[in-house]
């Protein structure tokens, strides 16, 4: 027996022991499997960025055939429903103030006359900017409706210089859930994996069994791998269940390779589980460990992974920070597998970072762990 040699026998003893801990604790086991699905279900429905019908108020000062025709273009587009008509600006203001309308369309007098005389007619669109996201989208739609109206007016006279026809790839209907669900799976799994292992080392410190373990010839690497093995299995199952839910409950197509999905999941899990182990070696109480695990995983994953907020739009400093957010790479790769199905080489950069993250965190956890009490 060489002094510092790795022992498969010891590792196997540890793996078996950890599995027994898990199956003897049905509550934690149920949580490990149900939590990701419940979170996915709740967030999947809560976070949807599609705006279906915008409430529109119309204040038509012209009351001509042309103005009516123009205003009708809004509900006809399918994006607006006219909820009220106003007879003065006070009425418009009241509708926006009370939130009964997202958007108000004001058609000035002489709208029809201006059009007839070939002058450009002006209209005013007022938007409730307190929800900037909705307002921006609403204004975009309004512009589109107006554009279509002017094009129709000009049709007989001039041809359009540029006929702009848009086609969106990968997600042709721009349904936000198509990109939210894959990202969400990545974010939720980031939090779950770290949480799973964050308790395992601190639990042994709390119960006193760690004192016994570190007095044995066991090597930290054996200890860590033994602790990660059963949670790795749980993690793989969690990802598969989540993907199944994405496909069957949320109707997200899975276009990429299933094997590739498994491989990436494995890489991701090694990093995530190592992070939990690292947290657990720093915090010796279970309470602190679980809180720390949530803080270092969930928040960064939610805000800095590019899952909801585009990394390209972040300040430089934050963009730099996102490089150490593991979820960023998993979000990217999962979106790719779900929606694009491009070959692994296209996300090679993300894969490299996922791998680096796993190795680095595992190494730090190993370096931090001491087989001593103080």
């Amino acid at each position: 027996m060489k002094p510092r040699s790795f022992s498969w026998i010891r590792l196997w003893a540890l793996v078996k022991k950890e599995f027994i801990h898990i199956v003897r604790d049905p509550r934690s086991l149920a949580m490990a499997f149900l939590m990701p699905l419940i979170l996915l279900f709740l967030f999947g429905y809560a976070i949807t960025m599609d705006i279906k019908t915008l409430k529109l108020a119309v204040y038509d000062q012209d009351k001509s055939a042309a103005s009516r025709h123009y205003a009708e273009g809004f509900p006809a587009s399918g994006y607006f429903s006219v909820v009220a008509t106003a007879e003065n600006y006070a009425g418009v203001r009241a509708l926006l103030d009370e939130g009964r309308a997202h958007l108000a369309l004001v058609i000035p007098p002489h709208f029809a006359r201006d059009l007839e005389q070939g002058r450009s007619a002006r209209v005013q669109v007022l938007a409730d900017g307190s929800d900037a996201n909705t307002a921006t989208i609403a204004l975009g739609y309004a512009e589109a409706v107006t554009g279509r109206f002017s094009a129709a007016q000009q049709d007989s006279k001039v041809e359009l210089a540029v006929d702009n026809r848009l086609r969106v790839w990968y997600n042709p209907e721009l349904k936000s859930r198509l990109f939210i669900i894959p990202g969400l799976i990545a974010v939720i799994m980031t939090a779950i994996t770290a949480l799973l292992t964050s308790l395992t080392v601190s639990r042994e410190w709390e119960s006193g069994t760690m004192e016994q373990l570190i007095a044995t010839p066991v090597r930290p690497i054996e200890l860590f791998l033994g602790k990660m093995a059963p949670y790795f299995v749980i993690g793989v199952l969690d990802v598969l269940f989540s993907v199944a839910m994405g496909v069957w409950v949320f109707d997200v197509p899975l276009r990429g390779s299933f094997l590739f999905l498994l491989g990436v999941t494995a890489m991701f899990l090694v990093g995530g589980l190592s992070l939990g182990i690292m947290v657990s070696t720093i915090a010796k109480s279970q309470l602190v460990a679980s809180q720390l695990a949530m803080v270092v995983t969930f928040l960064p994953a939610f805000l800095l992974s590019g899952f909801l907020y585009s990394i390209d739009n972040m300040p430089r400093f934050l963009q730099a920070v996102t490089h150490v957010v593991q979820a960023r790479y998993f979000v990217e790769v999962l979106k790719n597998i779900f929606l694009k199905a491009s070959p692994p080489a296209f996300v090679a950069g993300d894969l490299v970072f996922l791998g680096l993250f796993a190795v680095a965190v595992f190494a730090v956890a190993l370096g931090k762990f001491r087989k001593r009490l103080a």
């Binding site: 540890l14 022991k17 006193g208 016994q212 044995t216 001593r372």
Partner: protein, 318 residues
Amino acid sequence: MSTDHAVEVRDLTRRFGDFVAVDRVSLNVETGQVFGFLGPNGAGKSTTIRMLCGLLLPSSGAGRVAGFEIMTESETIKRHIRYMSQKFSLYDDLSVEENIDFFAGIYNVPRARRRERKDWVLDMAGLADKRDSLTRSLAGGWKQRLALGCAVLHEPPILFLDEPTSGVDPLSRRQFWDLIAQMAQRGTTVFVTTHYMEEAEYCDELALISRGRMIARGKPAELKNAIPEDILEIRVERQSEALEQLEDSGLVKEVALFGDTLHAVVEDAEAASAAVGDFLAGRGLAATAVTRVRPSMEDVFVSLVELEDRRSREGAPA
């Protein structure tokens, strides 16, 4: 360094901040001995044993355990020793057999011998018919024997036991010490801490520790002769009243409750026994018996701590 010493340390010291938990402890433990480390709770026993097992790095001092340096070779030491911590530390949610299997794996017990060793442990601990019970459900004495069994699965050369009998009923404690004696017969060196003074009798060699300092060491019989004073056992009705009166009487150096009697430390038993009897009778506390007894380990301990205190008071600058 001689090789027949399983443990050999000099000036072992451990500080936690300003607090000196272990203060310049030096000791040798011969191979094959049962070495008892005696002292009250908080005396520094656990800290010492943890340093010997490589779980705590000493603040200063040097030494060897199983022939390896405690400062630099703690991981090698861990392969030659077994340690049973003070807190019961097997896995509660594993069955008796699963715990044994786990430690057999951790200690690399050869597969061929596992079955035999497991049966031996189950038999030794009296757990043969409870092998499938969850460890959580076992009574204290059984748990301790199982923990000992897991520790000695592979017949280690040195066994460190930290308060193995703490919180266990007297009969189980007795059985446990029988097991320790068996281990020693097979050639295992046993280093055991306890705060039960009467358990000193089971040890080949003793060290007494108080407030981090080793105050005496030797064989149990030697230590009992080490105190120059005699011990009087006083049987009396109202013990606490008699205790107060005697403390102020000037007749005894030290007096303490000892079970349902009082033990008094006196210079000369012959002279003092009559004086004490008269003194108590004069205060209406007539003693039914005043007899000279062999000092118990507790008497020795109390008297040695007293001596040590006096020395350090005299030695300390005013």
